[in-house]
């Protein structure tokens, strides 16, 4: 079996294991979705009942809710590895560190995709935004954004998982790095909802793709060091 195929097999096994645990525990998705709903409602209350104002703010609120939720979700996926020191066992398997990173990021992507789509639906309902009209472009944006959040989150969750103050440190480390993604995703969402009148959607999506690639490569190259003593 080639090294790439073996790595892919390992990554899928890790992602499947995380998905199974999540489906049974439902701790990441349920708590995260509840948190997202609270974020959206509180922002909605703070902006007032003006429908136009809410619709204008919707892209920003959508991505703030997704990013905040992402911090919780990827942190939770790494907490699975603290069950009876499972991270120590995972690190001692004779497999490439890239494959472990890819598996954890794949699981994070799956959770973020579910969260992103549900938050998008919630934004459409709460803020009276016609998300169906721009569904293909929004779907692409959500997919690319979910990859970025998972790529960054997996790395920083690995940094903080062994820390006592991990709940505090993870957002402190992760959110500043996600700023370019947040910018690109909000701009792409604004363009998509407006029907892309200035033809800028592609450029913003390219920014997100570049961000994703850089973060995935950096994460895969360095994650292994986090697993070692």
């Amino acid at each position: 079996m080639s090294a790439v195929r073996r790595d892919a097999r390992i990554a899928v096994a890790i992602a499947r294991k995380d998905a199974l645990a999540e489906l049974r525990g439902r701790q990441a998705i349920v708590s995260t979705l509840f948190f997202s709903a609270v974020v959206l409602l509180l922002f909605g209350f703070s902006l007032g009942p003006d429908a136009a104002r809410l619709a204008a703010a919707a892209p920003g609120l959508l991505w703030l809710a997704i990013v905040f939720s992402g911090v919780l979700a990827v942190g939770r996926l790494h907490l699975l590895e603290t069950d009876d020191d499972a991270l120590d066992q995972l690190a001692r398997y004779p497999v490439s560190r890239r494959a472990i990173y890819a598996g954890k990021a794949l699981a994070g992507f799956g959770v973020m995709l579910v969260i992103g789509l549900l938050v998008l639906a919630a934004v459409g309902i709460l803020f009276a935004v016609d998300v169906l009209a721009a569904a293909p472009a929004l779907l692409v944006t959500i997919v690319l954004g979910a990859i970025g959040v998972a790529a960054v989150g997996t790395f920083y969750a690995g940094v903080t998982v062994r820390l006592r103050a991990r709940e505090v440190m993870l957002p402190l480390l992760m959110l500043p790095v996600l700023a370019p993604l947040l910018l690109g995703a909000v701009k792409a969402t604004v363009a998509a909802l407006a029907g892309d009148p200035f033809g800028e959607l592609g450029a913003w999506l390219q920014l997100i793709v570049a961000f994703d690639l850089v973060m995935l490569v950096a994460g895969a190259a360095t994650y292994g060091y986090l697993l070692e003593d």
Partner: protein
């Protein structure tokens, strides 16, 4: 209980005198927060031998196992498994070493079978389906295979962790107090595995407080105290007095010299 099947790597099949030592350490030390848990251990354990690491709490038994298992890195000194350096050749060492620690590293939300299937994928186990079922039967958990591990007792978790070792083909098995938390049936599982590994030529290093139960399987014994080898006994195991660190930094607080020389016999 059916007879345990041990899968053996070709590395474990050569004549003992033609193989490199299963474990070889050279002035191996590990400090935690400046305090030496292991303070310069030079030890050789030959392939295919079953050796007990003995000593009181804090003697350095677990630290030595964790260093050899590549779970932690040495502060200084070297350790080799089958001639491979645990720092430089870490992935190759991990292919050869199986380690049962105090923590079982199992996932609570997965069933016993799912935990072993995951481990089989990670270990690249051939015929994984069959091997997983066999391992579950060997450790007496066949009837609990579909139960989530979160509901298992400490003893059942330990048996499942032992089953995970059966999915690989290690040339060295490291067991940290394998009888702890086990009932009579669980202890019987450990006995059967020790006998099988011994018969298959797999080297086994067992950290323990007492050797009563281990006695039938042991080739040698190593007595540790305060991070140093106090004595060795038996075949296929040897120690030398710790060499002074040459170019490497000395430990911050080296324990007092041993009361007995390293080659003294263990008195039981």
């Amino acid at each position: 209980m059916p007879q345990t099947t041990i899968y053996v790597s070709p590395r474990s099949l050569g004549a003992p005198d033609t193989r490199p030592p299963a474990v070889e350490t050279d002035d191996l030390a590990r400090l935690f927060a400046g305090v030496p848990a292991l303070a310069g251990v030079s030890l050789r354990i030959d392939g295919g031998r079953t050796v007990a690491l003995l000593g009181p709490n804090g003697a350095g038994k677990t630290t030595l196992l964790r260093l050899v298992a590549t779970a932690i890195k040495p502060s200084y000194g070297r350790a080799r498994v089958d001639g491979l350096d645990v720092v430089r050749d870490v992935e190759a060492v991990r292919e050869r070493v199986a380690y049962l620690s105090h923590a079982t590293g199992l996932y609570d939300d997965l069933t016993a079978r799912e935990n072993l299937r995951f481990a089989a994928t990670m270990l690249g186990t051939p015929d994984a389906h069959e091997r997983v079922e066999r391992a579950l039967a060997d450790v007496g958990l066949g009837e609990r295979a579909n139960d989530r591990v979160g509901g298992f007792s400490a003893g059942m978790r330990k048996r499942l962790a032992l089953g995970r070792i059966l999915l690989g083909a290690p040339s060295l098995v490291l067991l940290d107090e394998p009888y702890a938390a086990l009932d009579a049936e669980g202890m019987g599982v450990v006995d059967a595995l020790l006998a099988a590994w011994h018969g298959a030529g797999v080297a086994v290093v067992v950290a323990a407080h007492a050797t009563d139960r281990l006695e039938p399987f042991l080739d040698g014994r190593v007595m540790l105290e305060r991070g140093l080898v106090m004595a060795v006994e038996g075949e296929g195991v040897a120690a030398s007095p710790p060499a002074p660190p040459a170019s490497q930094p000395a430990p911050a607080a080296k324990p007092a010299p041993a009361a007995q020389p390293a080659h003294a016999e263990v008195r039981r």
